[in-house]
Symmetry: C2
Subunit: 220 residues, 2 copies
Amino acid sequence: MDHRKRKPALIKKQMDFREPGKTAEKILAAARKVFAENGYSGTHMDEIAARAGVNKATLYYQIGDKDTLYANVIHQVLGNVAQDIAESVAKADNPEEKLKIYINCIASAVDENPEIPPIMMREMASGGTHLPRVVAEDMASVVTILLGILEDGTHKGIFVEKAPFLIHMMIVGTILFYKKGAPIKEKQLWLPAALKSRDKKLMGSLGDEVGRLVLRAIKK
Amino acid sequence: MDHRKRKPALIKKQMDFREPGKTAEKILAAARKVFAENGYSGTHMDEIAARAGVNKATLYYQIGDKDTLYANVIHQVLGNVAQDIAESVAKADNPEEKLKIYINCIASAVDENPEIPPIMMREMASGGTHLPRVVAEDMASVVTILLGILEDGTHKGIFVEKAPFLIHMMIVGTILFYKKGAPIKEKQLWLPAALKSRDKKLMGSLGDEVGRLVLRAIKK
DNA sequence: CATATATTTAACCATCTGGTTAAACCTTAT
DNA sequence: ATAAGGTTTAACCAGATGGTTAAATATATG
């Protein structure tokens, strides 16, 4: 099926990718890498099969087709972030702390999962048309959490009023772009040394630094 | 040639896409849209030819191959931003004003040029490996401008010291993600109404609002 | 007008790519 | 052991895709 005309991808076949060593798991792991590297249409089933060390027919026997495989990859890669954020944020009790946690959850999800930036960026680039509904809803629920934090903070007079969706894009955009951008920057040797050195001393994690910036931006 | 293995795209053939109505111009305009919609590997030469209203062979006669066409598109789309920023920023004299202009230049480039977000996002996603050298250098020069503004501001005690590259990723990431993300958000009907309404009242332009946020984030 | 040159086109082509098939190969239970 | 059902595989296929060719058509030049 043509990528552009894909229906909002349902997950036709749920894979049991939990058991490691199992064929399905090997396929999913390979698919994850290849899709992250090359995007949907840049990814070829033969390469996934090769990298997973299985025959292409096995791949089709275990999953179904490219669409389904892609949907499963996305679900596996982005699916758990939402719940994690919800749980972690609930533990804090003031908006400022909650916001820090919110940002750090996203940052560490990205850290533990280097496939998130390329996949998310490309999904955004293509208008999010092929995100499985589950994932789209997950992401919506995340923004809703932020909405709550910001509203609470504004009521309590801690935050100035700012558009929540813009803040969310700021958080996610900053983290994803930095994660993908930093390595590119390092390779460009002609860049002024000042740029490279300055960025070394991101005190603490990226999540912490973004947290500081965003808080400065919205605190009263 | 395979996308993944493309050499750092040189622009093999410079097109004269300036004269409107001319075949080359029609091709480039079509290519721009199609590449923005579907990415490099999702784009088919036949579609570009069809959308440009010319025969595919004409396309090859005028340009060369997919790679060259893509490089030309990128160059046309991203090539002029750098110079524009440099000139505009020079007009202001204090760091704060300069930073506002810096951000607004990027925001309006994106505004006037809706192909920037998808193309930039996908380029970042694939590690910027196929940016023509010219464009990569342009982008580097942009960051260098920001570096200057921030250093100046820090010296004068107006800004706190923050990693310049991170700030740049923050600006660009926020603008691009918001531009591409907002329309997606609008389509998700199940989202809490609060989210949609809140974001309507972005007072002024996106550039202004991002400018305000970033300044709050780094001003002493 | 005639000749040369630049541009466009329909028809091709080799290769790639997602997907299938039928047979071989395990694993398990009787 | 063997029948049965699940799993893997080599070989295959139809359609798509980037790219080419040689002829046809404008366009400019003498």
